[in-house]
């Protein structure tokens, strides 16, 4: 039986008529551990870069059985090179201990907007795009979709974009890559209709407050999103390309760079 005090309060507060149109439920407010103001953006370089990479390699050895997918990063020319989403999720865990994080799509947009870092001729992962439970990357897609759905989000309609900073990584011998993604309290789950296949090739100049493209004819930048299912990587390619169709999650080349964000002006 309902609490009579609640009902009395309801009688006191109620409007004469019940509104006919149903109002959409608001999304729960989630913790955002990442600052958006006064952030500095840098490549992972110098002695700090070397130290972080050492800690990263120790972590692979200690907790991830030296999985080859993670052993991609290298320290060459005084900077950490290469990029794939698995490596960046783990790298983010190390960076968090230093009060920093791997750039999310919104961070990269802000870095580009401010022109504070030269991203030409480099690429870097910043998120995952989950469009369905099928291929590409069916095993990981199904697993991640289950987690996303358990948090009240739909999978299979609009794509879901999840920034890498905020994800966790676990060893999973059943996974094709021996690794699997895990959502955490601070994972951001963002509906991203902009990343639909239908928007493949569209132009834009700027990102919105989630780091997703705001399309405009004659824009100088291009979205590549010619996929309509499964799990893909989201990465920046140079300054002009945003790729939301990369299905080779483990692949990495020497042009990859991690952009590290820090509050304040620390390098």
């Amino acid at each position: 039986m309902p609490n009579p005090r609640f009902l009395k309060t309801a009688e006191r507060w109620m409007n004469k008529n019940i509104p006919e149109e149903r109002v959409q439920s608001v999304s729960p407010v989630q913790q955002n551990q990442f600052s958006e103001n006064n952030v500095s953006y840098n490549f992972l370089e110098g002695s700090f870069g070397r130290q972080v990479l050492e800690e990263y390699n120790q972590l692979i050895q200690r907790e991830y059985q030296n999985v080859s997918t993670l052993q991609k990063l290298s320290f060459v020319d005084d900077v950490v090179k290469e990029s794939n989403p698995f490596a960046f999720v783990l790298l983010n865990k190390v960076l968090q201990n230093h009060g920093r994080w791997v750039a999310r799509p919104i961070d990269l947009e802000k870095a580009l907007e401010k022109g504070v870092i030269n991203l030409r001729e480099t690429y870097g992962d910043s998120g995952l795009v989950l469009r369905g439970k099928n291929d590409p990357n069916e095993y990981l897609a199904q697993n991640l979709a289950t987690q996303v759905e358990s948090k009240g989000y739909n999978v299979g309609e609009d794509p879901v974009m999840i920034p890498l900073a905020g994800l966790d990584l676990v060893y999973d011998s059943s996974s094709p890559h021996n690794l699997n993604f895990r959502l955490t309290d601070s994972s951001e789950i963002i509906y991203a209709s902009q990343l639909n296949k239908s928007n493949h090739g569209k132009k834009f100049n700027h990102g919105d407050d989630q780091g997703l493209p705001i399309f405009e004819e004659g824009g100088s930048r291009t979205l590549y999103s010619s996929v309509d299912g499964g799990l893909c990587r989201l990465y920046r390619y140079g300054v002009l390309g945003l790729v939301a169709r990369g299905d080779g999650l483990a692949s990495s080349i020497v042009h990859g760079r991690v952009v590290v964000c820090a509050e304040g002006t620390r390098p």
Partner: protein
Amino acid sequence: MPKTKLKLQDKVKGLYDKIGSEFYLCRDDFEASGERYNSALLMGTLTELNRGNMLLFGEYGGGKTTSAEYLQSVFNGLPLDLIKRVAIRGNPQLTEEKMVGRPHYGKMHQGEEDVVWQHFVQIGPKIFDEFNRMPESNQAVVLNGVDRGEWNYLNDFISTGAQPFFATCNYADRGNNALIPPILDRFDVAVESRFPGVANVLHIAQDYHNDKDKILSDPELTRKALAVLNSGKPQAEVQKELEEIVQKHEEGLIAKDFSVLSREDKERIEQEIRAVPFDKDAEQYFAFLVAEMNTSPKYGQKRSIDPPTTENGLYLQASFVGAGSRREEKSIVRYAKSLAWLQNQDEVNLDHVSQVAPYVLWHRMRWTPETQNAFKDNDRNDPLDLHITKNLLGDGTNEMPGVKKRFGESQENYQRVIDLAGHGKMNEALREAKEYSAEGRGHPIFQDAVKDLEGA
């Protein structure tokens, strides 16, 4: 009725203005419904009106004790010198016998048990100066007295009923102690007595003999009052004689063209304050705040023994250790109503609640280190804990939105649940409440509504 009401409010505002302009010079730092006040003086006035308990924080010589003395003297018709004489000053050696009462040594030698009550206990309105110089172990001695105006010693007790109580605290240093949470919870509000500005300080500095205090002082009546307090007469008789002294003092003040509040005035004010209703926005915001402070989807309810968790979203419950208390909720209601009354408003509005609530909560909140880190480097005018409380009860920041923002986001949905329940559509109300609750990730008000609708 309206004429009488206005007269009482004008009287109270007159006293507030008098203290602020002549005795406790200060700057305005508080705004509600378009009117500006000094927070220490305003909360002190509201404390007088509803006989509450107030903590005053501040630097040495910052006017904490002074403001409390003036408020107690002016609003209660007690000579200022008597107020100063009966106040307790905290120190590490302060025992129950020095604060509350002691055995009657003469009678004890004759084999009788009797209690000699300390002045501090016998007098109604109280000031406990440098409260946090008292060790934590002794703070429990004053718990009941602060809460209910009841004081026990040996097998005897004395009750002065609810009376305005002020305690001053210096900021942490080597000479003071932390206040225990149950004591903090017994203080309705806390304020900071602030630097009043250079112009005011220049004026205060010239008043080196405190000449202005003479109008409020009466050494002869104070001597008489102390004699009454020392008389060993039954408490009822002591109170009656003190009342006569108050009347004489008030007559003296009136003769000096100084307005006073009679006992009848205060009783009528209290009745009028009680009768001020909350408007719907104010009451619903209050409901949202209560839900955020007491609900935890993960642990069933918020408890001081469970760690705060952000697992279900960054609601207020994730930002502090502990839980809400019924005392603090009563404090919010009483002080919001008092403010609305003072402003001659027919209803308590959202502004009254949201402006008063931070002063009710900031001294009780134990913010998590993460929350403190998020705000510690902010530019601010308030002490850090008050700054955080104001932010998180208001709109908050991009990183940490506040209760008021979430209230704005979810009120419409909540109203739907209310409308459905109010119109007897229980199943629909429950279904929508569950939907908005989003398995614990929606606003806690919906989780609470689900429980009420299910009759849990």
